[in-house]
Amino acid sequence: MRRHKYRIIIPFLAPALILYSLFVIYPYAQAMYVAFTKWKGLRKSPRFVGLDNFEKMLGDDQFWNALSNNLIYLVFLPIITLGFALFMAFMISQKVRFSNFYRVTFFFPQVMSVVAIGILWSFVYHPTIGIFSSLLKAVGIERPPIWLGDPDTALWSIVAVTVWQSAGFFMVIFMAGMLSIPKSLYEAAALDGAGRGSTFFRITFPLLWENTRSSLVFITVIAMDMFGITFTMTQGGPDRSTDVLATLLYEHAFLHSRFGYATSIAMVYFVIVIVLTLLIFRVTRRETIEF
């Protein structure tokens, strides 16, 4: 077996490696080079400029603004989305009525395309015909917030859409973990007279570390990206209040023809995602409980 193993390793890995290297690694490697150049994204070749782009970034208010919006997402999306998902998962796995209906319904937004969600929610937030504004006006609030049109509310409106779309997905991830927790543990807790709250915190949550870890990785990727939903709903506005690194670099590349600078922003983005992912793996590794 040992001597022959490369007879299977090589042909089994080859198709994946070839396709992946050609269509994924190679374009990204090119992009890595572009980060150290000035390039208008037209026919003239990129011009190598060393660390110029990164120096420029340090003094670029728009970059820091976009990064801080990403940070807001990074802090609040995990708390709100995962917290809510965990809460719902716990409730549904307690054999409530219609639990199947809830499980199926809550997950559905995850399968919709971002374009469709963006269109739908732009109308939900519409200042005159939108659902929220109409409801608030109906209960007597004359000046409801202009959700996507006001820098104070736009970012949080997008947070809400993201929670709407992904809470079901994370709920299902948590539910899977909950179902694999041995019933005997709950029974023991019940014998001890534990209530719902203490059961959750003493038994359920500690046994969900693996699910939490995966969820954290996924939500980190979502919080760093946010491109699709931002682009269809606000294009980073109003007044850059919903700008994130992804939309900023898109703007630099495709609006201002600065592909070099845009790519250097993407490098920073990439590094942040990698570091956070490794950090999550490290922090949660030892906490996994075997049973």
Partner: protein
């Protein structure tokens, strides 16, 4: 031209007696083609030397003017050049669609680079991608005998396409910019359009007390307030030189007192609560739809507004355009009117000649008439609206131009030249109109963006006389 391809080619008929050949065309002033009815001027059939049987490709932004007028121009093209054709694709977000093709050295022959998400024209010109349209400008016009193509276009209508004196694109729509209202609504309420900005504010007060919001604008796209209000106001208060200084990146150009005054006048709309609730959350068509429901009295826009909103305009709305009032009633008639919708030809496309030839067809008198008749806007072509029934909107726009006489204001070029400044203006305008930025802060932000552009050696600079 003999018998070949009768079944496929369009049948050509000459005016006057049948049987007169092309050789006699020097005797006849014009040749009329059957399908579109265009009368080709003598010696103007193919001055640029389009090769026979050229199959060219055009990709065009399809926006407020729709796409049908492009198809009509392609019909003219095919009729003037039997055997050749121009494919016409209508798209949105021109930049996303075409940039990869430009990089690959495979651009289409001719494009309309307009709309949101279009290509950065300054960068394209700076990189030498765009054809010098000089030969087109000096070629004979297609259906105006004795004139060159350039001479048939409204004077001054093509200056924004001049980059360091070279014509890089042609504008195909003549647009009047101003403030719109519903004539029927104003008559019903007995309101009169004001002659000064103070008059505007007091009218706004009256309007507001009647339960209608005095103003709305294209919320998510605050730049409409730039060309609708700020540009003409600044020119009226401080003279047109200010915008030239802005375009030429003169240090402190944005800090001119007239700029501050105009911005403060605009800011008064917000401070007095004259802007419709919810405006900042609306797209351009949505705010225009609100205005059509008479929820707001005024909206800034260009003359494409009528066509853009045609499908949901209530009967009897009667939209009309007026110049924006300023400090001086005697300057009320001054109005921003210029040509827009830039069409350009790629220097390394497969058939640049076909691209130019298409523009010659598109800006022919016949095509311009069709545009005026069917789109309800006008091309900057002399005589292009002859004998066409114009709507109340277009009539009001032409009246406004007539009243302005020599005081037609040029639009600044910085939005096309320096996308960074334009972005900052859009953002700051939104901030100003929602009370998050004062006029001083607006100026500070935009001047800073302008200074950064001036000092960035990687941005190609242009000059305007």
């Amino acid at each position: 031209m003999k018998k070949s391809g009768i079944s496929r080619r369009r049948f050509i008929e000459y005016t006057g007696a049948a049987g007169l050949g092309i050789g006699l065309s020097s005797v006849l002033p014009q040749i009329s083609l059957a399908k579109t009815g265009i009368k080709v001027a003598s010696g103007a059939a193919n001055p640029l030397g389009l090769a026979a049987n050229t199959q060219a490709e055009g990709v065009f932004f399809s926006g407020g003017f729709g796409h049908a007028y492009i198809e009509y121009a392609a019909e003219i093209f095919a009729e003037v050049h039997p055997g050749s054709s121009m494919s016409v694709e209508g798209i949105q977000r021109v930049g996303e669609r075409l940039r990869p093709r430009i990089i690959a050295g495979n651009p289409p022959d001719v494009i309309d680079n307009s709309g949101a998400g279009n290509l950065d024209t300054g960068a394209l010109v700076g990189e030498g991608e765009i054809m010098d349209l000089g030969p087109l400008m000096s070629a004979p016009a297609l259906d105006t005998p004795g004139k060159t193509f350039g001479e048939t276009l409204f004077p001054g209508s093509q200056t924004s396409g001049l980059f360091d004196g070279v014509q890089r694109y042609v504008n195909i729509a003549f647009t009047v910019f101003g403030v719109w209202h519903s004539k029927s609504l104003f008559e019903e309420k007995g309101w009169n359009y004001p002659t000064t900005w103070d008059g505007m504010l007091s009218l706004c007060d009256t309007i507001k007390s009647s339960g209608i919001a005095p103003w709305t604008y294209q919320g998510k796209y605050p730049q409409y307030m730039l060309f609708g209000l700020l540009e003409p106001m600044v020119s009226k208060i401080g003279g047109p030189q200010i915008w030239k200084d802005v375009d030429n990146l003169v240090p402190g150009a944005w800090e001119h007192p007239a700029m501050l005054q105009a911005l403060n006048m605009m800011r008064a709309l917000h401070d007095n609560g004259y802007i419709m609730e919810g405006t900042p959350g609306l797209t351009h068509t949505e705010s225009q739809a609100e205005w059509l429901q008479k929820k707001a009295a005024f909206i800034p826009c260009g003359t494409w507004l009528e066509n853009e909103m045609r499908s949901i305009t209530p009967v009897g709305f009667d939209m009309v355009i007026k110049p924006v009032p300023s400090d001086d009633a005697s300057k009320l008639s001054w109005i921003d009117a210029s040509s827009g919708e830039p069409f350009m030809v790629f220097s390394n496309g497969k058939n640049p000649v076909a691209g130019m030839e298409f523009l010659r067809c598109l800006l022919s008198k016949e095509s311009a008439k069709w545009f005026a008749q069917n789109v309800g806007s006008i091309m900057p072509v002399v005589g292009g609206a002859e004998g066409v029934d114009l709507s109340s909107a277009m009539t009001s726009a032409l009246t406004a131009v007539e009243n302005a006489g020599p005081n037609i204001l040029d639009r600044p070029s910085f939005p096309g030249w320096y996308s960074d400044i334009y972005s900052e203006v859009k953002d700051s305008m939104g901030a100003l109109l929602t009370g998050r930025a004062s006029a001083e802060e607006f100026i500070e932000r935009v001047q800073e963006a302008s200074d950064e552009v001036r000092e960035d050696p990687d941005i190609v600079k242009f000059k305007r006389a």
